[in-house]
């Protein structure tokens, strides 16, 4: 691997910064050079937040426009806001929901509008609301999915297990890995057809 750029986007309070930290720790555990940079504004909650994670032969903390290999989006609107960071063959991991900003008279955005505009990229979706209802942590489930689909060639599963704190996180991560395996098997069937 020369360079790997992962962008995580969402809303303050969704675990965007924590997910970036876990990713960075896993790569650090493996002994790879890693930069993790938090970009957020005034408040703790409710605003748009992104975390840039860069791995490998890198010197700077920010991903250039068009340079992200992976986008993890905890919200549909935030996925679109950051689409200009995506490289042409990037993969998108999306929590399939849209939370409107806490402002008066906001025009609604539908999830189908989001998916329509993400069509140029291979997009894997999850339903965080259901995942949370089932007792899992969504940001960690997504990390498991990302691991299974995109990071297996760089990291061992134990690099992650070592940095995940508490049994709920490990359980959530493993659920994401299973989802990834399921997606992979679907893709394999596609290829057979």
């Amino acid at each position: 691997m020369d360079r790997l750029n992962i962008l995580i986007a969402g809303i303050g309070g969704q675990g965007v910064v924590t997910a970036g930290k876990i990713l960075a720790e896993a790569f650090h555990e493996k002994g790879l050079t890693v930069f993790e940079s938090e970009t957020h504004g005034l408040s703790q909650r409710g605003g748009a937040v992104t975390t840039h994670v860069r791995v490998g032969n890198v010197n700077v903390p920010l991903i250039p426009k068009g340079g992200a290999d992976i986008l993890i989006a905890m919200d549909g609107i935030e996925a679109l806001r950051n689409a200009s960071y995506l490289s042409t063959d990037a993969k998108v991991f999306l929590n399939e929901s849209v939370k409107l900003p806490s402002l008066p008279n906001v025009k609604p955005v539908s999830i189908s509008y989001v998916l329509e505009n993400l069509r140029p990229w291979r997009t894997y979706t999850l339903d965080c609301e259901q995942i949370v209802r089932d007792g899992y942590r969504c940001n960690t489930v997504i990390l498991g999915l990302v691991y299974e689909i995109s990071l297996r060639k760089y990291l061992d599963i134990n690099d992650f297990i070592k940095v995940l704190r508490g049994p709920t996180n490990v359980k959530s991560f493993m659920l994401g890995v299973q989802r990834g395996k399921y997606y992979e098997s679907l893709a394999a069937m596609d290829r057979l057809v």
Binding site: I11, G12, K21, A24, E25, H28, T33, V34, F35, E36, S37, E38, T39, H40, G41, L42, S43, Q44, R45, G46, G47, A48, N57, V58, N59, V60, P61, L62, P64, K65, G66, G67, I77, E78, L80, R81, A83, S84, L86, S87, T88, L100, P101, S102, L103, P104, N105, V106, K107, V109, N117, P120, V132
Partner: protein
Amino acid sequence: MLVQRPRLILGNEAIAYGALASGVSVAAGYPGTPSTEIIETLMKFKDVYAEWSSNEKIAFETAYGSAIMGARSLVTMKHVGMNVASDSIMSSSYTGVSGALVIVSAGDPGMWSSQSEQDIRHYGLMGLIPIIEPFDPQSAHDLTMRAFEISSKVGHPVILSTNTRISHVRSSVKIAPFSDPIRGKLNKNPFKYSLVPEVAKKDREEQLERWNKIKEEVSDMIITEGSGEKVVVGVGISYSYVKELVQLLNPHNVKVIGVTSSVPVPESILKELEGADEVLVIEELDPIVENQIKEMVVDNGLHLKIMGKRLTGRVGEMDMDRVARALSEFLNIEVKREVSSERSLEIPSRPPAMCSGCPHRSSFFFLKRGISLGGLKETFYSGDIGCYSLGLLPPFNEQDSLISMGSSMGVANGVYRATSIIPIAIIGDSTFFHSGLAGVANAVFNNLPVLILVLDNRSTAMTGQQPSPSTAIDILDAAKGLGVKYVDVGDPFSPDFSKKIAKAVDWVKKNNGPALVVAKRACALVAIDKVKPTQLAVVDMRKCTGCTICYDHFTCPAILKREDKKAFINPTECIGCGACVPVCPFNAISLQGEKPEGWDEAWTG
């Protein structure tokens, strides 16, 4: 030397560990993004005295007072905090110090959470104080130690200038072993440290002598790679951008120079420029290094074209695209960018919002109601710096100006003198003690008819709930002590709060002087940290009329709009504070579930 495994840490932690390796014994700061985690890290070490001071000037003076006793001390602030501390900082350069004094100023190019970008390196040029600029968390760690070394060797303050992309970046850092803290002992020398004109004149001479020593001390603070007639100079974080792009583009005949002492620029750089015919300086914000190099080139009669801001621009954060554009023009090469087609999408902006349960949302809601109850037809909301700056946004629109910490009362004074319209000065509790007290004194002294509303959430909430002096000093007592005749305190969650506002407004109109009302309730994040919420607000759909008040005029993030316009409260975001209950004119919202033990105490702190 003990070899330690590198740790994945924040740039700010790397700075704190650098200070610990240098024997820091006293550290003080005022919280401000992106500087805050330095003091937070030092607070974990018991043999170092670390405090949150009431403002940056006091924090600086604390560190300075320790350093003139021979201690190794550190002061931290954000870039705009330098302005508050600058009066004393300028004098410290005259007197020097006897131990070591490192001033960390964390800049915010791009203004992620600041009122201005402001290049603090001007203070270095103005006050003859060296500016050290790291380019990643590892160099932040190493250069903190270098800053302490220079400061103690020369006996002069040193500024370490960091920014968001160093302070708030995590990467692997090799940490040096800690040293025993170096403390001071009583050492009086009024003819050095008391700047009456006689002393100041002598100190000025000594300051210039020290400045010459500093020039020698920093002479090795450049890093050179490659060779060629085209030279690219990268300063601080910009050096990292240049390094990565040069690796990517692999241009031939290019020399790269990294500069880590931006004031003064090491004169040794001239030697590195021999044989060059064009130089491009890449640095964030103002042309501080660019202009110093130009001056050296002119002074030495060299023929060399120096470029910089003309190619990089001077607004906002540096990034790969900007540096790539500047390099492609300078090197006359094409830089391919892999940007996927930029399409214009219709997506709403998502500015930061006040948290669920934030008492300020209710303060703004009932303030507006109270003002109209009190019979003020129009007013000017003179705002201040803190979470409540978000009151600028719709639906509140209750911050007509906010320019710096503590500016609310001074600006209100000017607005009233020009228009005779009674203004509302809005200030937070931490800001009140940071620099609001002088404004209250002025309002009393000059008899300003103003309603001063102190939004007291018992903490410096915006930067992560650091404790505020309001937990030790009663704001009403402070105001009374300063001569404010009308003082009152209320709970912003109670609809009675608007009546308190109305009464105070009425008093201001009749008495033509300042009145002060405190809206007192703890920061919601502090409250739910203390007590786990167990109750939830629920909408009774039979009573909800879809009037829009709760989601369009109150805008708690937990309240969502259903397709039929009725309100729905998201149970995963609601903290059960009950602030929305009195907001509904149809009594459709109620709290359900048991009130947890200690809940009311957690909110009053």
